[in-house]
Symmetry: C2
Subunit: 220 residues, 2 copies
Amino acid sequence: MKRIFFDIDDTLFPSSQFAEKARKNAVRAMVEQGLGYREDEVYSKLLKIIRKKGSNYPRHFDLLCRELGVKRPARYIAAAIAGYHSTKTGILPYPEVKKVLSLLKKKGYKLYVATNGSSLKQWDKLIILGLAPYFEDVFVSEEIGSEKSAAFFRKILKKLRERPGNCVMVGDREEKDIFPAKKAGMATVRVLRGKYRSGKSAADFRVRNLKPLRDMIKKL
Amino acid sequence: MKRIFFDIDDTLFPSSQFAEKARKNAVRAMVEQGLGYREDEVYSKLLKIIRKKGSNYPRHFDLLCRELGVKRPARYIAAAIAGYHSTKTGILPYPEVKKVLSLLKKKGYKLYVATNGSSLKQWDKLIILGLAPYFEDVFVSEEIGSEKSAAFFRKILKKLRERPGNCVMVGDREEKDIFPAKKAGMATVRVLRGKYRSGKSAADFRVRNLKPLRDMIKKL
C-alpha cells in the first residue's frame, strides 16, 4: 500500500452535525432580525426546501423567504448567510484526524482526498479545517468530470500512474466510497460515522474512527 | 428635525480600512496555499483588477487566478474567500457610533440608512456590525431603483410622507451624500473620514466623527 484516499464529509469532520447547526443558526439569525415566524416553523420549511432542491442548491434562503411571503428579503437572507457562516469558526476535524494523517505521512504513505461536490466548497472545507497541508492532491468530482464511481477512481489512478492494488479508499458511504473504489480494484475502509453509519458493508475493514487505520493498512 | 439618514461605508464603520485588510488577508491565504508568487505581486495584481472591474464585481479572485495562469484555481479561490471573510470577525463600527445612535433614538429622532450598493451586501454589513436594530428602515439603491441622487432621496421622502426640511443626511462623500440630499432639500452633515475625507464641502456641517451630531442637529 502506497496511497490512501479520503472522503471529506463525515469521514474527516462531522459534516451532518455541522450542517444541522449551521442551518439552525441561520434560522435563528433570520428570526432575530424580525422575520415574524417561530424558529421551528422556519427550520422545518427550510428542511423541506433542502429535501426538494438538494443540499447543493445555492438559493435555499431566497426560496425560503419567497415561500414565507417576505416582501423585502435582503435583510433576512443576509442574516441567514451570516448566521450560517458564523458556525464555521467552530468547525473542527474529528479529534484523531490530524494525528492519524501526520503519522501516516511520516510512515511514507501518500495521502489524497477523493470527494464529490464543488471544487470551491470542498477546498473551503479543507482550508477551514486546516487539513489542506496533509494531502498530495485533492480530487473533486467537479474537476474530474464525474461523480464518485469506478470511472472516477480509474481516472485518478491513470493521472497518478498507479495500480489500484497499491491504493486504499477510506470513506463513510457504501455506494459512493466503498462500492466504486472496490470495483476499480482498490482496497477499502468504511468509516462508521455520520448519518450513513449503519447498513451492510463490503469494505475490507470497518472502523468507528481513523485510529486503527495504520494497523489495518499494514495488513492489506 | 425628525429623521436622520446615514450612509454606511466610512460613515458608520471604517470601510476602506476593512477592504484593504480583507484583501491582504485574502492574498496571504492564497500564497499560504502554495500559489507560488510573492504577496506584494499578487496584491498589486488584485488592486489592478479591482480598479478595472470595480469593487462590486463578484469574481475578482477567479480573474486573478486566470491572470496568474493558475491551472486548478479552486484551492486558491477558496483560500482567498476564507481569508477575506475571516477579516469580518474583527469588524466593528467606529467607536462612538452605537452610543450616538442610542442617544439620538432616545431623543426621539427616527434613524434610517441611505446607501448605494447591493441590498444583500449592505444588510450583511449592518448585521455583522450589530447596527441593524438602530434603524427604522434601510434604503438601498438596488431596491429604490436608482443610485444616490436627488431622485433617490425624493423617492424615500415620498415613501415616508415627509418634508425634506425635517430630514438630515449624514455621509462621507460630497457627490453621493451631500450634493444630492441638499438638492432634494434636506440638511446635510459631511463626515470627514475614510479615503474621501478631504475636498470642499457644501454641507451645513462638517464633523470628524459622529459625537457632535446631536448638538448640530438641534441648531438646524
